[in-house]
Symmetry: C3
Subunit: 289 residues, 3 copies
């Protein structure tokens, strides 16, 4: 057993500038050296991973880890796949994927929901379920046994998400809903105990009067921080705020939990050299905090 080596985190980011957000969180999680890479393309991943796995003794590989970030979630998924493909046998380091904060945000949102409504059997509406955060929220909810309504302006895209979720979670109870008008959104929300809005910034997904008509609604979560709100009337700073009898969360209210999860996940990377922290692992970690 050699002396403990400095903690090194390799930041792989596809954007033209590597995220300072991810770097500050890493520093605050106790990383000693940040090796930051921007504009990373999948074909560059192999050499970068080799530098991680071929430089330290087996008992010190848990002191090197990889973080896949960047704003483009699809690009991040490709980078993560390439990272994992490069590992072989015990020659690996732990890796976390959180492009655009999608995994930590989805985990924080579902955790907030679960604090108010037991998820098993609960009917939950996910608005903009076809986006990167929405897909993860739908996936986590289905995994917990909720009855998920995956809503989108396009029924076809909603169906595609349901199929993906069902492939990974065969017992999933999930169905596609269209929500392109207030009327359709009201219909989709009928009977739901939880609504989670995961749309792009600045797009209203549910008017306040539709929300007020949802008699079974216990918790409403809006992940959009830029006005107008995704759920009209929910403030970004809401954190278990009572509005019309419903417990509401806004993006900043969820954000505090998201930051804790992100930081804890970075710390966890250095506990062993064989972890892949994607959405399920990050949610499990979030719950354990």
């Amino acid at each position: 057993m050699s002396d403990a080596k400095p903690k090194i985190l390799i930041q792989l980011d596809g954007d033209t500038q590597a995220s300072t957000f991810d770097a500050v969180v890493a520093a605050d999680a106790g990383v000693d050296h940040l090796l930051r890479h921007h504009g990373v393309r999948p074909e560059e991943v192999r050499d970068l991973v080799h530098g991680a796995i071929f430089t330290r003794a087996a008992d010190q590989l848990n002191r090197t880890a990889i973080f896949v970030g960047g704003s483009d979630v699809t690009a991040g998924e490709s980078l993560l796949a390439e990272v994992c493909r490069t590992f072989f046998g015990p020659m690996r380091v732990s890796v976390m994927m959180d492009s655009s904060g999608a995994n930590t945000t989805a985990a924080a949102a579902v955790l907030a929901a679960e604090a108010h409504v037991p998820l098993r059997g609960a009917t939950v509406l996910v608005l903009a379920a076809t986006g990167p955060v929405g897909r993860r929220v739908a996936h986590l909810l289905a995994g917990e046994g909720a009855e998920v309504r995956a809503a989108s302006r396009s029924l076809d895209r909603a169906r595609a998400v349901c199929e993906t979720v069902a492939t990974r979670i065969p017992r999933a109870k999930i169905g596609p809903w269209i929500a392109s008008t207030p009327q359709e959104t009201a219909a989709a929300a009928q009977g739901c105990r939880i609504v989670i809005a995961a749309g792009v910034p600045g797009v209203e997904l549910m008017p306040a009067d539709v929300r007020r008509q949802c008699r079974d609604l216990v918790t409403a979560i809006d992940l959009n921080a830029v006005p107008p709100a995704g759920l009209e009337g929910v403030d970004p700073r809401d954190r278990a705020t009572n509005r019309d009898g419903v417990t509401c969360y806004g993006a900043l209210g969820i954000g505090a939990t998201k930051m804790k999860i992100h930081k804890a996940a970075i710390r966890k990377l250095f506990e062993s050299n064989d972890q892949v922290l994607d959405v399920d692992e990050i949610f499990a970690l979030a719950r354990s905090l």
Copy 2:
């Protein structure tokens, strides 16, 4: 109040490689993590600043700061403007701008001059006053109440500098002078107690015999380190060196003070989260050292 977080400095640099000069000074000023960015364009600034202001609690925002550098001062001014535009309310971190070392160099030069001649009412010639350092030297001198002669090979550009200075400092005593020949330079220097040459490297701005004819001259400062000297006969290493009865400073002689100012300014960034260290603030800091 949480524990003190590591000191993070975000280096924004528009050049193809981020300055190692600025990085070494930052390390020597006690920064724990340097987040270095090169080729930064104004449209990339917003996300980089968001990563600075959205990652730490309010009482820890003074542990994150931004340094705007790079060789292009105009580009640096744009980046600084964009950084400040992104801040809102208490959501800000301290920022320093010193592209091409222009602010710290100008501050060091004016500080050296003031050590020998009280600036209020003193007639001062600034050669190449239209360059990034020259403009700052003229600005600082005018702010201290000197009678500034802003000289250039182009009278039009000298006038433009005077107008800019006068706009920012309404009480400024500053006028444009042409200095495209030794005769014109001699005329501009007539009656001056201080001459500061702020030209580009390797361009002579004043022959030695012109300098020797300046009867009222007390201090001569040359900010050009590359032969030939801006002020002929002044050595880059001069540091209060007596030449023909005049106290002379060369670029390296000023450089030692410049380095101290630069380092002190980086340290000061971490005292609070609301500072903008541009030319005036850096000069005030320089004086307090």
Copy 3:
């Protein structure tokens, strides 16, 4: 004498992403701040070196150093030349060149050979002597007084290598050999006590039966880690492994020594500010470990 400053290593890398391998080794060698630069072109070197030599007092210049890496050895040689050209008088910092690991790998291979056969007067075959590692192996062997057979598929290129080595080491005993077929390789190996294969990954340079026919062979070293082996029958993990009466080393067996040399060389950079660690200096260091 001022207080000891943090150890800063400036990593100059011509690739599109700076090597993580070199960065991890630097961190493990105790570097405090890594200033990493990718895509470095020779014309960018001057400013990067100026930032190293103009920022700290003379007695602290040994706390800043430069590492030239990247996968392209020729590009690395250009960068190193440019770094050294920028130094003047005492204004310098120590620099190490190890693009593609060529210097540390060559040093480790020759060190392994020398553990089994005194090099002076020993006949040694270098296969693929025209590649970056092969040229360095041939150079080191010649410097130690071995009789070097520099083999290549092209006799012209083998001759060019011999001329280069002879120019630098006038007493060198080195001659060109062609080895484009098993028969030619067998002829070249006749009478050799050491064979070192320095070819590109995945290319077999000597069949096992040719190796077994080398009656004088004591040590065989294969620097290729990717199947098929450069020396058929030698395993990458071989480390003084006896095969058919010959002491064999594979790429990973040599790699452990290479890592130690690399790390020791980084540490050595910070002992003074005037070292240039290229192949000869790295081999001398390797021997002293």
